[in-house]
Symmetry: D2
Subunit: 351 residues, 4 copies
């Protein structure tokens, strides 16, 4: 292993400003459980402001799976289901967390980690063809940026939201890497616009320089009622809740574009962009079109193995022709020198 | 409110040594999810050592409800139930978290927050009288120290474990305040002895000077298999798992009695003892016999109100005669001056 | 064993008129799943008529546990709970069926199988004292007739409904033996009145001369939406649904008081009344005040054993003084000769 | 609608012999819940005999969804999943019943309603690639005959069982139409052989001339322990259990091949075969290769509409070219004249 790993964006602790916020507030006594301490209250205000959603509820979760399972559970009744791409995090990487709450995941056949209106419609038609005998779809789950680093355009997003509106489905955006999507070059979808159309969305902190934490913005009346209870019931409520408030306050003060949350994501994206450009120039083949901090390349197996050994890359797929799809993830902590090391090694390997 | 609140033992951040451990390790890159980083591995070793359980599995949870619901769920099959006192934390204070995983809580009528062999036997007889038509008890849940600050003696604990063995029930100890129980004056029940008899136990960190975190020691083969999956499935797995490892390492280095975990608890107990002695000397009536950091007093309502206003006390019950049961909780952060303030004010109030 | 067992009211098949309805309709082809066949449609109309509830939804279940778990689940959200007496069927005799759907049972300390306003209020106060940290009560569960054969008076029922209205709780009546309650001597609570105040109620058929079947009358909008889906999802939907419709049609044609459902229950009650009178005259001690088809007597153990051996009685409790509480259940099929046999034997035993 | 509907095989009541068994035993008093009455005991013996499984447990369910959800739930732990074809009944037609018990359905991409070893292996590889972060497959679900009327050959079945053995997965056979599969022309897979390799299997009665009922043969030790409790907990236990015993006794007396269960299925298959032959001779295009009582044809929409109108056919799919896939289902009750009517009409329509 060389100087830095590109395994993922949660390999380090926290950005220094975030950690300092915890040090600074350490000895204050506050009420627990995010229930009214000044840090959570201020962070709530900041989230509402950057989302342009003065009436929304804002809550704080420890991690993404916890946020996802609470929101999906709370937005659905026992017999309803959530529509998502087959590669969606909730379908593949969360150990059946949705089913563990009794709800059903209904996957489309989209293979690019976006969901398309065509596939939503196809699954909807099937699932509503025999009434009560099938799980009723009532929610669409999106990730922005997607599992493959893609960014939702406003047009694409609106098309899905329009479809959802027309089919009485709510929309939930898993924003584990939302800061990266919003900060991506060419991105035309704003936080305010997303917030204006969804039942709920998360603003990820864990993968963007916080020790842990996802803020959840909730518009949907049913989820507003459900969330506080479900969070406790599902074991997702932090006793020292102000730790979440203090971190999000430090991340969001300064506001859209200027705050730390945006600056950290821009840095991660920039490092990814340099890495991508470097590898493309060397003749490497990108697996997906990603302007964010996850970069996927299709490489010969032996090259993939070296990337894994040296930079902690993960293998996302093995293709029929034997080549590997490997992932490089940059973060707030990635150094330009580390990117240079990747490119330098890459120059010596088969592509 | 005067200088310090006695509301609970999770009002502050972390003990300085704990926080420093996070600062010191902040920029290291490690694997995630507690899955093999050096801090978790060392902390696991330390937990096994102080428990005298070299073959146990050790995992780390973010909070007590998460640990409880994973362990109880994992130790029971779908139709089985957990026996506990009616006042048990899992029965009263966790929003139906056990039922949310599909398992049933079966309460005894013990009114002192301990469970007794007599009551266990009574409930057992009833629940096994018609076979499949009733929930089958297969687990006993204990808290040490108890909800009312009591400490399990070795004799009492062994009697319950013997009963459980004879009835094919496992035993789970919720140790949210276990350090306080082990450090209590006159305590005769050792961590090693507890660990030798239970299916699983937790060593609480959240209420003993850590930012968050409960270590779980697991002896039961079924739970060893279940825990890793259930933790992810229930949203209880921390991405930056090494935060838990680093904190428990800092807490447990030094070993039994000498390590920070014991020293912090002893301090909290000492503060509680001073407060208790002071109030008893003033003629106040203790509600329960507690040698740990939770002290309960039965007081006139107006006195209770002052304690709540000045020291953040919580009201645990309102008696038929109108008096209140109020709780004072001390912690690693409680200052002797604050205790003195309580006693000083108490001297001026009706008892 | 002598000529007839008093073990329970589901020992035989069906009343002849019920069975004949199945024979008569056997070769007709209908749609399945209770979804529109003429028998279910007619039975729905009859249920609505006798309940005076033209806008209610009527569905048909195979058994009581299935009906109870669907209704309780459908009337509660994931974090909410159902209030009931500790002896309630859903708390004791259904193997944790409510918890298996993720909902929590909250028991009062009422010891007569009724729930009282005082106890409802006590549990409510406790459960709402810390907000999201406790299961929120949102439903009251009643059985009429009760587990001990008691009958709800209109005053008692209205008091509970008034309390529930004032606390935003719905009311659900488990009517497994409702026909017996409505037909009991001195009963002042009508089916129409019950139907006018509850979210849902069941009209039991299994214990009143049908092969199987409970009709469910649903007033609550949320349950109207939920029931059809939940019934399928929980495995409670009968493929040949018309079997339920045909039986309930045969049971209810003739209308309130005149229909078979009432006549069968009156017979069962009459047999129970003769048995009760006979035993009381012999000096036996009744355990509960029951004007319905379940009769409980407190007897010496050796007498209890004889009743069990000869008449299939069940033992409901063993008292501290060693005496047994035994239950005699009469049904539509009980013959006067069998009652006479009980009394004859009873005359020869110690009381 | 003409003389008889081909909508499904549960449109009528029961075969006369089955109904007579209920009439004959109606007034006997037996214990409830399938727990030891003579009819259930005899039916258990018969099931064990025809399956060649003297040590198996045999239980009786009211319907297929109930049997499926109990078996799948009982064979899996909370975080485990069941592998099946995307068109599997549990995945499509049971309203998320598996997820409602907390377990996850993992579908292959097989499009013929069989599961293939290749697809099982592919899904297995994916699901075990990151340990606890994904649902662990531990069960394979098969239907025989399949959703499209296909019959498992012994070679195909053994290949899947071999794969399952090698991957520590159990196998569960949903035999809702098992009698049709076993009785199909050319079938080489025996009931004994299936029973020798599976964790559990069902012998369907509902779709083969019984009022209702599926017998479940259980080999797996964990399911033997779980089934009785789960059946009660999930609301799937019939109070008058002997109704199931009496029906299965009537169906199975006579033994393999000779008993009513086989004779009824052979009749249904024969009717289907005549219909199939007739339509193929007329130039109709079969959608699937089915030697059992479900026949699927691809027809012009207007022809499909006529079949639906006249014979109650269901539309299974609408193809991109606008043609429909319609299903004809024959049963024990189907008359040759009705088949002739189908063929007669078909001769007049566009194919």
């Amino acid at each position: 292993m060389v100087s830095q790993s590109f395994r993922n964006d949660y390999s380090e602790g926290a950005a220094p400003e975030i950690l300092q916020a915890l040090v600074d507030t350490n000895f204050e006594q506050t009420v627990g459980y995010t229930e009214g301490d000044p840090y959570c209250e201020r962070a709530r205000e900041l989230v509402r402001n950057v989302c342009g959603a003065p009436d929304a509820m804002v809550e704080f979760c420890i991690g993404g799976t916890s946020a996802n399972l609470i929101c999906v559970n709370g937005l659905l009744r026992d017999w309803e289901g959530v529509l998502c791409a087959a590669d969606a995090h909730i379908n593949v990487h969360e150990t059946g967390a949705i089913a563990a709450t009794g709800r059903t995941v209904l996957t489309t056949r989209d293979d690019d980690a976006f969901v398309s209106v065509e596939e939503l419609e196809r699954v909807w038609q099937r699932q509503t063809s025999t009434g009560r005998h099938m799980t009723l779809p009532r929610l669409v789950y999106l990730t922005d940026s997607t599992e493959f680093g893609g960014v939702w355009t406003r047009a694409r997003f609106d098309a899905v939201c329009d479809w959802a509106d027309a089919h009485r489905c709510a929309v939930y955006v898993d924003g584990a890497r939302l800061a990266n999507a919003l900060s991506a070059e060419g991105a035309d979808l704003s936080l305010r616009h997303i917030a204006s159309r969804v039942a709920a969305l998360t603003l990820g902190g864990t993968k963007n320089g916080m020790l842990f934490g996802e803020a959840v913005l909730i518009n949907h009346p049913r989820l507003k009622e459900a969330f506080p209870f479900l969070q406790k019931e599902r074991g997702g409520l932090l006793a020292k809740g102000r730790l979440l408030g203090a971190q999000f306050q430090a991340a969001l003060e300064g506001g859209e574009g200027e705050g730390l949350w945006w600056r950290l994501a821009r840095h991660a994206n920039r490092m990814a962009s340099e890495l991508r450009t470097g590898l493309l120039e060397l003749g490497y083949e990108a697996f997906s079109d990603s302007p964010t901090n996850q970069q996927f390349f299709t490489v010969p197996a032996e090259t993939g193995q070296r990337f894994c050994d040296e930079f902690g890359c993960e293998v996302f797929d093995t293709l029929p022709d034997g080549r590997w799809v490997v992932r490089f993830v940059s973060s707030w902590a990635t150094k330009p020198e580390a990117v240079a090391e990747v490119i330098e090694l890459a120059g010596t390997l088969a592509r």
